[in-house]
């Protein structure tokens, strides 16, 4: 026990520092871009085909691409996606991303975006049709209806599932270790390999993950409380 306490004092600062330098930025940047991908994909997927034939054909093609994107990232393991982008593509001389960071952010944000787009799409569709019609009958344009009526309600509905995605993403960044990024899990492996305190080191890193995900959960709780003030 004393031993574990000493290890904690010795390594926790380094683990926390690494979390601040790697795990948290990876999570935040990937989630940010993930939400952008998710929103765009969701909007494409709920959009009604316009009257104009050419515009309709174009939108249909974009819809197929969006569907294929969501299907691919939801039906393959994250670790395989990381390997394809970081090891596979350069090996085939498609050197899109030499950098492990760019590869990781790309895969994490596309992956999060695919799942979150389903969440956002479901929240958008759950706003009652009659409220959209009411907004239209006030003279709002399609864009205004979305901006002022649909999105604020959809945002509230999607907060709990999106928070879960964020927490999931934070834990998934541990997979960045397989493409050479020395984030906290990789760091704990390296230390364990040197000092042989395998169990203690993995418990310590688990505690660091739990610390940050708990903070996110608490944030989620208050956000939900704040936004549910108009809920039935």
């Amino acid at each position: 026990m004393i031993d574990f306490f000493n290890l904690a004092v010795q390594y926790l600062p380094e683990l926390f520092l690494t979390a601040l330098k790697y795990t948290l930025p990876l999570t935040a940047i990937s989630f940010f871009f993930g939400l952008i991908f998710a929103s765009l994909t969701a909007l494409v997927r709920v959009a009604k085909l316009p009257q104009n034939e050419w515009a309709a054909a174009l939108l249909q093609i974009v819809k197929w691409i969006a569907n294929a994107y969501v299907w691919f990232f939801r039906s393959t393991p994250l670790i395989v996606q990381l390997f394809i982008v970081f090891y596979g593509l350069p090996n085939a001389h498609i050197a899109l991303f030499q950098s492990a960071w760019v590869s990781a952010i790309t895969v994490f944000s596309l992956n999060t975006g695919a799942y979150a787009s389903e969440t956002i799409r479901a929240s958008i569709s759950s706003v009652p049709e009659v409220q959209k019609q009411a907004a239209e009958s006030l003279g709002m344009t399609r864009a205004q209806v979305y901006l002022y009526v649909v999105l604020p309600q959809a945002a509230r509905i999607s907060i709990p599932p999106l928070s879960n995605s964020l927490i999931g993403l934070l834990k998934d960044t541990s997979l960045a270790s397989v493409i050479t990024i020395v984030e906290i899990f990789y760091l704990s492996q390296q230390i364990a390999a040197a000092n042989y305190k395998v169990l203690s080191m993995y418990i310590l890193v688990a505690m660091v993950y739990a610390f940050f995900t708990s903070i996110l959960s608490i944030g989620q709780h208050y956000l939900e409380k704040y936004t549910s003030r108009f809920a039935q």
């Binding site: 409220q131 019609q133 009411a134 907004a135 009958s137 003279g139 002022y148 108009f230 809920a231």
Partner: protein, 244 residues
């Protein structure tokens, strides 16, 4: 005046409206009545283009639109600024307080300042004895209160024509009476109303004219008295079915 000429709306498997010619005079209250599925809602929703008829013309005051042609956003906006709609279902914006429900249209569409929109909204609430509801969210209101707020949201746009689609059919009789009293009061004022209703005694008391829609056609359009004392078989049948 709202006028429709040769208006038709066909669904793939159903003729909802066929060659409708009607005038809704300004400063009048028109009750649209008829059996379920006859096309009343489709007609009312066509008047502010929430439903798009296939053919016909729609005239509101000086603006005349050929509905067979594509309409511009500007034309649609012009129609919607002259009309306001109250729905059968609960249609308040659930994420906004009562006050914000009333100011959303004036601020976002009519570009009024927040202060101006709020002071007229508060004035409206006061006029209809609902001041204490201003800061509540829709879920904190009874069905009757929600529907009265929906009427005020429509009125807050200062429409010339107020369109209502069975605004009380989802309410208990007691709550229905609350809402009908508000509408009766409105009918006496300068607002022109077109109301789809199944409440015949309300129609008889309040309407200046009655439009009877029967299977997508106009079965009667004229003075209220004439309708309720008609000798026509279809009308007598309908009125018979509405009472017991």
């Amino acid at each position: 005046m709202i006028q429709v000429k040769n208006l038709s709306k066909h669904y793939p498997d159903k003729v909802a409206l066929e060659d409708i010619n009607l005038t809704f005079p300004a400063d009048h209250t028109t009750a649209i009545v008829g059996p379920s599925g006859s096309g009343k809602s489709t007609l009312l929703r066509s008047l502010n283009l929430l439903d798009r008829p296939d053919t016909g013309t729609l005239q509101i005051d000086q603006l005349i639109l050929d509905l067979a042609k594509p309409l511009t956003n500007g034309q649609i906006l012009q129609i919607r600024q002259k009309t306001a709609m109250v729905f059968q279902e609960k249609a308040l914006f659930t994420h906004l307080t009562v006050l914000k429900n009333l100011t959303e249209g004036p601020i976002k569409v009519q570009k009024k300042s927040k202060e101006e929109a709020e002071s007229s909204a508060k004035e409206l609430l006061k006029q209809f004895n609902m001041t204490e509801l201003a800061n509540r969210y829709p879920y904190q209101l009874s069905g009757g209160q929600q529907q009265r707020v929906a009427i005020l949201r429509a009125l807050a746009m200062s429409p010339k024509y107020l369109l209502l689609d069975e605004p009380t059919s989802a309410l208990d009789p007691e709550l229905e009476a609350q809402v009908l009293r508000v509408l009766k009061e409105l009918a006496k004022k300068e607002v022109s109303m077109v109301i789809v209703t199944h409440n015949m005694s309300f129609a008889e008391q309040v309407a200046d004219q009655v439009v009877f829609i029967d299977d997508g056609h106009v079965g009667y359009a004229g003075p209220t008295d004439g309708f309720f004392h008609s000798n026509e078989k279809r009308i007598k049948q309908f009125l018979g079915a509405m009472s017991f």
